[in-house]
């Protein structure tokens, strides 16, 4: 029986989900490369639109690698750091995929690798301050890591889950990080677990990569980190389903995993924490999977924050005119928004496609594939009808809240109906209505 479980893998712990074609072979075997910097960088001075910072450099200043470019205002915001040494040409604005235009410093690299001296002794400062100072951000939920840690401590979490599932097609960043920096991942997880005061720290990773699982188990031996292989059925990578699979707890519709006393951190955040805590280095690079059918040389690249996406595309080469550029996974990522967009620290992947998958929708044939594959038990076709209605009932409201926006319903729909897109729009409308209604009452 144990042999069988070893061969076939663990059982799927939630209903629904689907094994998607992986498209990972092109990048999974390639080591992480550092993208050479050969043009001006447009380094955003803040991590999110609502986190305010003040620039501490001005045009003409010379900065070293890792030097601070902005100073944070308030407890939640984080400063920006120079990814390379060079000269600040001007302060301008740059398009970021998640926030639109943000203020940025235009940095002309000078080719010298002069770095600010490292201190190797952050013990005099608190853990939170160290994370904030080094600008560690978490891609999902998109927030500075120290804010998430503070919230989690306030909520009294008892479990930390490090999410290395990466079940979306094309993405291999987490896989390579686990291969290349297994010890640092475990070290940083232990540090975070200590700071959070959790009783269990779990590293969730795909069962399929057996050697990686074995290696991580070896690294974690004797540490307080449990290595938990899971089947890589999409969307196992979603926090709600990780909590369901690993801890068998169900998060209420619209709820947060913090309500269940769990904090789920993506591996990218742990990697950032490792740089800040173990090396005392500011997070100035993002690790991106660059792939897609339009890419000549797909791979995983360590890209300086502020590099224009166009430079990344130029470096890897394109075979055909791109018709779709996605930041993040193909099922949940966001479209680029602007062709002058720059890389930010929380971008997990850059996918460029020459083919388009979008076609005119036909009529629903009641095949039930969306219902069968929905990981949270929602009937997407029923929710689509809400588009034309003004009110929705309690049950429909719960279904709207329960949707985790994994995009699987649209992905499998043989009629090409925009199910996930419509549900997102309807939910936005109802959330907005609730907010305005709440504001009117108070």
């Amino acid at each position: 029986m144990a042999l069988l479980a070893n061969l076939l893998g663990p059982r799927k712990a939630f209903d629904g989900g689907s094994f998607l074609p992986a498209h990972k072979s092109a990048t999974a075997a390639r080591p992480i490369e550092t993208l050479p910097v050969d043009g001006p960088l447009y380094v955003p001075l803040t991590a999110r639109r609502d986190l305010r910072t003040v620039p501490v450099v001005s045009g003409g200043d010379h900065v070293l690698r890792g030097q601070r470019l902005s100073r944070s205002i308030g407890e939640d915001s984080i400063p920006a750091h120079a990814p390379v040494s060079g000269r600040v040409v001007a302060l301008d604005r740059a398009w970021t995929p998640y926030d639109g235009y943000l203020p940025c410093a235009v940095l002309e690299p000078d080719g010298r690798e002069d770095a600010v001296p490292q201190r190797f002794g952050w013990e005099d400062e608190s853990f939170i301050v160290q994370l904030a100072d080094k600008g560690v951000v978490c891609p999902s939920p998109r927030a500075p890591l120290h804010v998430l840690v503070k919230e989690a401590v306030a909520a009294g979490v008892t479990e930390l889950i490090v999410n290395a599932m990466e079940t979306e097609p094309y993405l291999t960043t987490d896989h390579r990080i686990l291969i290349e920096e297994p010890g640092r991942v475990i070290d940083a997880t232990c540090e975070l677990a200590d700071a959070l005061g959790v009783s269990r720290a779990i590293l969730a990773l795909p069962f399929r990569h057996r050697r990686v699982v074995k290696r991580m188990r070896a690294e974690a031996a004797g540490r307080h980190v449990e290595v938990f292989p899971l089947p890589d059925v999409y969307p196992q990578c979603h926090p709600v389903l990780l909590v369901k699979s690993l801890l068998d707890r169900e998060v209420a519709p619209g709820g947060n995993v913090l309500d269940e006393g769990v904090i789920v951190l993506p591996l990218a955040a742990v990697r950032g924490a490792a740089e800040a805590l173990l090396d005392d280095r500011a997070v100035t690079h993002a690790v991106l999977t660059v792939a897609g059918d339009a890419v000549v040389r797909p791979g995983i690249f360590r890209v300086a924050v502020g590099t224009p996406m166009r430079d990344v595309a130029q470096y890897v080469g394109l075979t055909a005119p791109v018709t779709g550029v996605v930041c993040g996974g193909p099922l949940t990522g966001v479209a680029l928004g602007n062709e002058h967009a720059v890389v930010t620290a929380e971008v997990p992947a850059l996918l460029m496609f020459a083919t388009t998958h979008h076609a005119a929708p036909t009529s629903c044939s009641h095949c039930g594939w969306c219902v069968e594959d929905c990981p949270v038990g929602v009937d997407p076709t029923a929710l689509m009808n809400l588009e034309s209605e003004r009110h929705c009932h309690v049950m429909e409201r719960q279904q709207l809240d329960a949707c985790i926006a994994c995009g699987l319903c649209s992905h499998v729909c043989p009629a090409r109906l925009p199910l996930a897109e419509t549900i997102r729009r309807v939910r936005m409308r109802h959330v907005l209505k609730k907010d305005t209604a709440g504001a009117a009452e108070s």
Partner: protein, 385 residues
């Protein structure tokens, strides 16, 4: 070079997730089903000759023609409608015997599209709607005792096995290969095996001393292997059991049919046939499967005939699993399949209507909405409330 390729269009810059879709469309699903139905139709043509081909083609052509006319009249682009209409026409043709005259075929195909597809929206299987309406109007044409000559390809000198010209009268019928019949048409005038089963269940087959089941199996029914190959009278697509199983496996392998549906449907039919009583000498005998006569497991053979001798195979592999007319979830499909299997056997044993499998599929189709509501999935996180 790359610079030019990077110019991204406005539309693709603002698109929302998901950005990649699975390649499967409704058109692929319909094509796979059409291909499967074509294989069954081909086997029907092999058994029943050019007349069967004529019926199938006429059925497809009339269905597609009606769809085109309706599309022109309502000024709507046809889209996948034409291939869907062709599939409905083909499936309708498969339920008919090869002796049916052309006007009946055309009428039924048109009704399938007009009533089944347009009025009921495909929620009741359109091909079966056409089939049962035709059954109302032209019952004599469907009972194979038609007057049209069929000239089967299985006639002498045409094909290797199952020489239909040598089939004989009912009393001495030993299968297609072993008895002599005066003409090819006589084979089509034979009683369908499923009719013999019905007659038996209503005490219509005379017993031979103590032997009740043996006369049925020995004298009335063709050899069981003939019902597997399809060399028995019946609808064009109903008889070739082996081909139906193969195309069912094809659809299952493509992922367009869940294996549980045909398996559970046949299993529940087998269980129903094993348990439900038959009338023998004014007495209802339960559990016919347990019957043995002269150390032969005649009860088991009786149940096997029930599975292969009627429309059950066509229903299980090609008709019940229709994507529109079957429940959405697997749990619902199980209930649906059990319903069809049991109802089919029940109607076969005690009912008066022929085409019992088609009727039970339609009845269960009507219950799909209820089944779907009943089998609704619990939303994650709401299980305890």
């Amino acid at each position: 070079m790359t610079k030019q390729l990077w110019t991204v269009s406005e539309e693709s810059l603002t698109r929302v997730a998901p950005h990649r879709l699975s390649g499967r469309t409704n058109r692929d699903v319909i094509r796979a089903w059409f291909f499967a139905a074509c294989l069954v139709g081909a086997s029907g043509v092999v058994w029943f000759g050019p007349a069967a081909l004529k019926v199938l083609l006429l059925s497809i052509v009339s269905a597609v023609a009606v769809e085109i006319i309706i599309g022109l009249a309502t000024r709507r682009p046809a889209g996948d409608g034409l291939s869907k209409a062709a599939l409905i026409g083909l499936l309708f043709g498969l339920t008919l015997p090869a002796t049916v005259p052309g006007d009946v075929v055309a009428f039924g195909a048109i009704i399938s599209i007009l009533v089944g597809r347009m009025v009921f929206g495909g929620l009741l299987h359109p091909a079966l709607i056409g089939r049962v309406i035709v059954q109302f109007f032209f019952v004599s044409h469907l009972s194979l005792s038609g007057t049209l000559a069929v000239s089967p390809v299985l006639a002498r000198g045409h094909l290797l096995f199952g020489d239909i010209t040598r089939s004989g009268s009912v009393a001495t019928f030993l299968g297609w290969g072993d008895t002599i019949a005066p003409s090819g048409r006589s084979a089509h005038l034979l009683e369908r095996p499923v009719q013999s089963l019905r007659r038996f269940a209503q005490d219509g087959v005379a017993s031979d001393g103590d032997l009740n089941y043996t006369p049925l199996l020995r004298d009335v029914l063709p050899p069981w292997s003939d019902t597997l190959w399809g060399a028995v009278p019946g609808g064009i697509g109903e008889t070739s059991t082996l081909v139906l199983i193969v195309v069912g496996l094809y659809l299952i392998s493509r992922g367009y049919l869940r294996w549980q549906l045909p398996v559970v449907m046949l299993a529940s039919a087998a269980v129903a046939a094993s348990i439900l009583p038959v009338e023998l000498h004014d007495d209802y005998r339960w559990f016919p499967v347990l019957k043995t006569e002269q150390n032969h497991a005649v009860g088991l053979a009786y149940v096997l005939y029930h599975l292969t001798a009627g429309q059950l195979m066509l229903g299980a592999f090609l008709l019940a699993g229709d994507v529109t007319a079957s429940p959405m979830r697997i749990q619902g499909q199980l209930v649906f399949a059990v319903g069809i299997g049991v109802l089919t056997i029940f109607m076969r044993l005690y009912g008066v209507l022929s085409g019992e499998c088609y009727w039970s599929i339609l009845i269960m189709n009507a219950l799909v909405g209820t089944i779907d509501r009943w089998m609704r999935r619990p939303v994650l996180g709401l299980a305890d409330s």
